[in-house]
């Protein structure tokens, strides 16, 4: 097991350096003069121009610049935002819990309903219900989620007035950020109704963000379940007279879950990509919206290192999923 982890960790290092190369190249690939682009004006005063080049370290040879970049990263220095003068790392840390909360809620929604739909479809294979579930999940998979968000807002917020449209909580509540998770922080606070308010804010974005993972999980669960239900041990379990529920959920689903778990891991990328759109629609103050705003404002340090942080997050999660997968499935562990 140790050598398996070490091998996977070894694969991680070149990937990490590749990503730093990519984000390093990002600023340098901007067509035209980077200082002019960042300041948003032409013909910058030559002295200020030289100063800016100096400050950004753009006046040195490229390998030296890259070395500087890596050294700074190793020291935990991710630069500072051009707009707020705040450190990128600090901004990321304040905004990330919002995205994490949204993503976890979405994953919960997708996991519960996806597994349920997949199991039902597999058990009723070929029935109208199966076709219905699969049709809906293919529709969900094809969904332009930015539009889906607008439609849900139009229906639930504008027409029915059930849910709020934007932000994480109404402005009349003043919640002390303790964990950064609004649902938990509102529980700690004394304000009445704050938890329900935060929950209502979370529901629509979580549904929107969870739609595509839901569809993927439902499809994956169905096919994996179909395969497992054909196995001999299922027949044995039935023959011993176990209750159908026990056969399906304890003997069947548990084994069918292995491939589904991998899909869970792979969905992290989809979730973070979808967060960009979902957060933009619902004005959710997370890292997706932060990045898009930074791009709009040509705040390149934020764009550069925000992308670096997200990429690191994705490879880290995939690494953990890989390890977990190795834990449950020894065949993977011993593969070279």
């Amino acid at each position: 097991m140790f050598s398996f982890i070490a091998r996977r960790l070894g694969l991680l290092i070149p990937t990490f350096f590749g990503i730093t190369l990519l984000t390093f190249a990002l600023i340098r690939l901007i067509p035209g003069d980077p200082v002019e682009v960042m300041m948003g004006e032409r013909r910058v005063d030559p002295e200020m121009h030289a100063q800016a080049m100096e400050r950004l370290g753009l006046n040195k040879p490229l390998p030296v610049q890259y070395l500087d970049y890596i050294t700074k990263l190793a020291q935990g220095d991710l630069g500072e935002s051009l707009r707020t003068r705040e450190s990128v790392w600090k901004e990321f840390l304040t905004l990330f819990p919002a995205t994490l909360e949204l993503a976890l809620a979405a994953l919960l929604f997708a996991g519960v309903f996806g597994l349920l739909a997949g199991v039902i479809a597999a058990l009723k294979r070929g029935s109208l219900l199966d076709h219905g579930v699969m049709g809906i999940s293919l529709t969900g998979y094809s969904m332009p989620i930015f539009w889906w968000g607008l439609i849900l807002i139009m229906f639930f917020s504008v027409s029915l007035g059930w849910t709020p449209v934007s932000e994480r909580i109404s402005s009349l509540y003043d919640i002390e950020p303790i964990t950064g998770f609004m649902l938990i922080d509102t529980l700690f606070s004394e304000e009445e109704g704050a938890f329900k308010d935060a929950l209502m804010h979370l529901i629509l974005p979580a549904i929107v963000l969870g739609t595509i993972p839901l569809a993927v999980i439902a499809r994956m669960t169905r096919s994996s379940m179909l395969e497992v239900l054909r196995e001999d041990y299922i027949r044995t379990a039935r023959a011993k007279g176990l209750s159908p529920g026990r056969v399906v959920f304890v003997h069947g689903l548990r084994n069918a879950l292995i491939p589904v778990l991998t899909v869970f891991g792979l969905q992290v990328g989809t979730l973070l990509g979808g967060a960009v759109l979902t957060e933009t629609i619902f004005s959710w103050p997370g890292i997706g919206k932060w990045l898009i705003e930074a791009i709009g404002a040509r705040d390149y340090p934020v764009v550069q290192n925000g992308i670096l942080l997200i990429a690191c997050l994705v490879i880290l999660v995939n690494f953990v999923v890989d390890i977990l997968y190795g834990l449950v499935n020894p065949r993977i562990r011993h593969q070279r």
Partner: protein, 310 residues
């Protein structure tokens, strides 16, 4: 109608060819498998409609997509109160005919989808072949590079690329092509690795086939099935990503009638005019769904092994 023919065939002496022993041609076999899948067939029909609209947009569309009818701002569709037959699906905030804009938008979506698929398929297959044929040094380095690209969520990578290159039609295509490159490389490499140990490849090698011949004529045709399926699926995700970029204001710029861009400007009218919000998105959804249905059908027809895989 066919009965007498089969009867006469069975009545023929055994020396005549038994029709049931003849294999159908690969094309008719494929078509039979594909057409049996109702969803895939429906998807194909819908795509034919979209392609027709795209090809003949100026003749199909009732109005010019950019013409502003100032007296008809936000006119509802014809079946609602206040709608007119002049604007069947209603008009947008500038009085432009929605149906005409959607029809012209299909040109852009198909163009972006098609060109980004071609631009990622060709280099992707080349890199995948190289990675498969040179498993010592070149292969792993190509695959590490692809891992780096896969570490970023595709939409985010596309957003980053557009942030560098600037918004616009061509940059959207480039961004989407780069984003979908890794899956082609991985698929091609995996298929090539599977084929390389087969006897026919060894035979071709021994017969003295050159490397390019081995790559493109011996091995590649046998790796096409998953690539065709992937091309269909990445076509649909290209349309989705292009619309998402347009929605974020980073894709095709207004007033060009791109479906995602249309949605972005319609956001402000969500309370008053549901049709400017619903219809472009519905068009995106239906097109993507149609292509995905076709992709499922293609996968089942081309590669029965993959059937039921998610």
């Amino acid at each position: 109608m066919t009965d007498p023919i089969t009867k006469s065939a069975s009545a023929m002496p055994p020396s005549a060819v038994d029709q049931s022993l003849l294999y159908p041609s690969p094309y008719s076999e494929f078509w039979q498998a594909f057409a049996r899948n109702k969803g895939a067939f429906a998807g194909l029909l819908f795509m034919c409609l979209i392609v027709f609209c795209a090809l003949f947009a100026p003749w199909v569309a009732p109005h010019t997509p950019s013409e502003q009818y100032r007296d008809f701002l936000l006119t509802p569709p014809v079946w609602l109160e206040g709608g007119t037959w002049q604007f069947i699906l209603g008009t947008d905030e500038l009085g432009r005919d929605l149906l005409s804009r959607l029809i012209h938008g299909s040109r852009l979506s198909l163009l972006i989808g098609l060109s980004s698929v071609v631009m990622s398929l060709i280099p992707g297959v080349l890199l995948g072949l190289l990675a498969g044929f040179f498993p010592r040094l070149l292969g792993p380095s190509i695959m590490r590079l692809m891992d780096v690209m896969l570490a970023l969520p595709s939409l985010l990578l596309a957003v980053a690329i557009v942030a560098i290159l600037g918004p616009g039609l061509i940059n959207t295509v480039i961004a989407i092509a780069i984003v979908s490159l890794p899956s082609y490389v991985r698929l091609t490499r995996a298929a090539v690795m599977g084929e390389l140990n087969r006897d026919y490849v060894t035979a071709a090698r021994l017969a003295g086939a050159s490397l390019p011949r081995l790559m493109f004529i011996t091995v590649l045709p046998n790796c096409m099935a998953p690539l065709i399926v992937q091309a269909t699926l990445s076509f649909s995700s290209a349309i989705l990503d292009a619309a998402a970029l347009g929605f974020l204001g980073l894709g095709v710029q207004p007033p060009t009638p791109e479906w995602g861009t249309m949605l972005a400007s319609a956001r402000d009218y969500i309370e008053r005019a549901w049709w400017v919000v619903s219809l472009p998105g519905l068009t995106i959804l239906l097109s993507v769904l149609a292509i995905n249905l076709m992709g499922d059908g293609l996968r089942d027809a081309l590669d029965p092994k993959l059937k039921n895989a998610a």
